[in-house]
Amino acid sequence: MSTVSETSHSALPDDGVVRAADGTPLKKSLARALRREKLRSFMLIAPLLAFIIIAFVAPIADMLFRSVENSIVRDTLPETVETLADWDPQSGELPDERVFAALYRDLQIAVEQRIHTRVGSRLNYQQPGMSGLFRGTGRDVRRMDEAGPFKPQFLETDEDWAEIETWAVIKRYSPTYTPGYFLNAVDAELTAEGVELKPQNERIYITLFNRTMVMSLIITFSCLLLGYPIAYLLAHLPMRSANVLMILVLLPFWTSLLVRTSAWKVLLQQQGVINDFLVWINLIDDAGRLVMINNQTGTIIAMTHILLPFMILPLYSVMQTISPSYVRAAKSLGATDWTAFWRVYFPQTVPGIGAGAILVFILSIGYYITPELVGGTSGVFISNRIAYHISTSLNWGLAAALGTILLGLVVVLFWVYDRIVGIDNVKLG
């Protein structure tokens, strides 16, 4: 790396320092070379790192921020929020005239800019009815007497303004940041008494998280059940036949997710191939066709098929490295086939089971497309709810909060995966 300019025969102090060819101390020269090498490898990585940070990390961070961001109330009703700070919802009394006057002035501006409905729809996530309240008041606020007093005029417009709870909600959601979306995502809400769980029959998200977890576990388990024999067979066949059979595993792996989902949609239908076959062999009669789609069964069957290769491949690579002499040794010591398998062979495959199971579980809890198409209403996952809140209900804060929880879950699982397998050891194909 160092340029050769002088050679050692030139006059150098003989101080015992080891020097490079150009006369700089070797230590310094090596440090410089190391620095240059570090810089060079960093220059190679930098373009992609910058690209991923802009195109991927920043969007995720932006989404995480949305789950706590809550500036609508403060931005639209700044003066109301400020005057409301002195009011105590526990006092049992409505805010005074000052607050109503502030609300009047804020709404005047908001109605002019046509943004008053945004506050309404934001607060409606927390308290149903707020959307209508703001829309109605927005219409009436122009006709109010500018001289005041405003309190009676507001109460006349809508009796909800006489409710302590209305004001309490506005006050509760006036800070710039809110835990409200997160609480909502775990079926809790912020009430005057603090954080409370919602009534049993309204707890949809906990149910959904539970269902996502339970169904992912079932899918992982069925993948393991079906994947283990296949991996075992492939690892114990001669290389040539194993490679041929491997194609049967890799072809589904490489086939488009939508192709496989369409295939299951076609097969599992009531007028589909499987039902027709079962009727034909007289196992069921024509009226008793099985309902295998648009429910949990559909999701479990289709996702087991889709994720099965992700279980077989890591299991296979672990089983390939297990030496057959252990099992032979066990048998020579008198173990039966079963004991030799269960006590000697199986424990050695546990790392493969761990790797495959975590991988399948991570992939399955984040799945969206397949549950959406074959899951009906009872077979959908948390991802489907996130998509619903982004594209249909437009409650983006709640979507972000649900997404953050899901992401946290995946990151923890992946950390475990990294400890067991290591990201560097991920093998493809």
């Binding site: 373009p47 690209f51 024999p229 192709v259 369409s262 997404g403 493809l428």
Partner: protein, 285 residues
């Protein structure tokens, strides 16, 4: 299992030997049947999703190419096909170039914060797609990329890079550093060394990474649904809509074409794997 049964095997052992093979056969059937069954179904002359009596009797009148004709003439499907074959190569190119450079950089001996950088670069593969899609939808809307081709291409490129990094890194693990040193000692500059010595050797990894990136984009639907708009709809998008609203039999024809594509891809990868093993002096297995 590898050797046939020994002569002293008990009847239980023989029974289990065959039972195990039957079980494996059934699982292989489960894996492959759904993919293969849609191919004959796509030639159905009726708009049904099951075999008609004419088809089972192998009557030529039960078969028709009408679903394929629809795929190749319907403007909706043609737009989707065209978008897929333009977006995927563009995303692949970005992912492959950036990913290969980064993998080479990461393979150097002294990279500070290596594991943290690796975690960031691999993250698009780990984060559930719906979360990436949501994040990109919000963020790209802010910077004006939502609903543009560029936005979709960049998003797909980001998803594809981890695969390039992983495959190229795997090739570089077996890379003999003395080759670049030899090249340098013979007077080649680093750029020349890279293209003449290193590149040909890591090529199989780069190509299979590129194939992964391509198929990631070609098969991706969640991101494009959120980041794209109707004019960027791709084949998976059109299939998704077709499956969600009402199933049109054309989907089976499209699916069969895509199965053919994945078979082609599988064979390309297999050839690459053999080539790479040959280059490393391992026996092609």
């Amino acid at each position: 299992m590898a050797s046939p049964l020994p002569p002293y095997a008990s009847s239980l052992q023989i029974g289990w030997y065959y039972a195990f093979r039957v079980i494996c056969g059934l699982i292989f059937f489960f894996l492959i049947f759904p993919i293969l069954v849609i191919v004959p179904l796509s030639f159905n002359a009726q708009d049904f999703f099951t075999f008609t009596p004419e088809m089972l009797a192998l009557n030529p009148e039960g078969y028709s190419l009408k679903h394929y004709r629809d795929f190749f003439t319907n403007p909706d499907w043609q737009l989707a096909l065209w978008n897929s074959v333009t977006i995927a190569p563009a995303a692949t190119l970005i992912a492959t170039v950036l990913g290969t450079l980064a993998a080479i950089g990461l393979s150097q001996a002294h990279v500070p914060y290596k594991s943290a950088i690796m975690a960031i670069l691999i993250s698009p593969m780990i984060v559930p797609l719906i979360i990436s899609a949501a994040g990109m939808y919000f963020f790209f809307s802010r910077i004006g990329l939502q609903g543009t081709y560029l936005g979709v291409v960049l998003a797909h490129a980001a998803l594809g890079t981890p695969f390039v990094i992983i495959t190229v890194t795997a090739t570089l693990v077996g890379f003999d550093r003395s080759l670049t040193r030899a090249s340098a000692s013979l007077g080649a500059d680093p750029v020349r060394t890279f293209f003449k010595v290193q590149m040909p050797l890591i090529m199989p990894g780069v190509i299979s990474g590129a194939l992964f990136a391509f198929i990631t984009s070609f098969d991706e639907v969640v991101i494009v649904l959120f980041v794209g708009s109707a004019s960027q709809k791709t084949l998976p998008w059109q299939m998704f809509i077709g499956l969600r609203e009402q199933i049109s039999p054309t989907i089976l024809a499209v699916a069969s074409v895509m199965v053919a594509l994945s078979i082609a891809l599988l064979f390309t990868l297999e050839l690459l794997r053999r080539r790479s093993e040959r280059l490393r002096g391992l026996a092609p297995g």
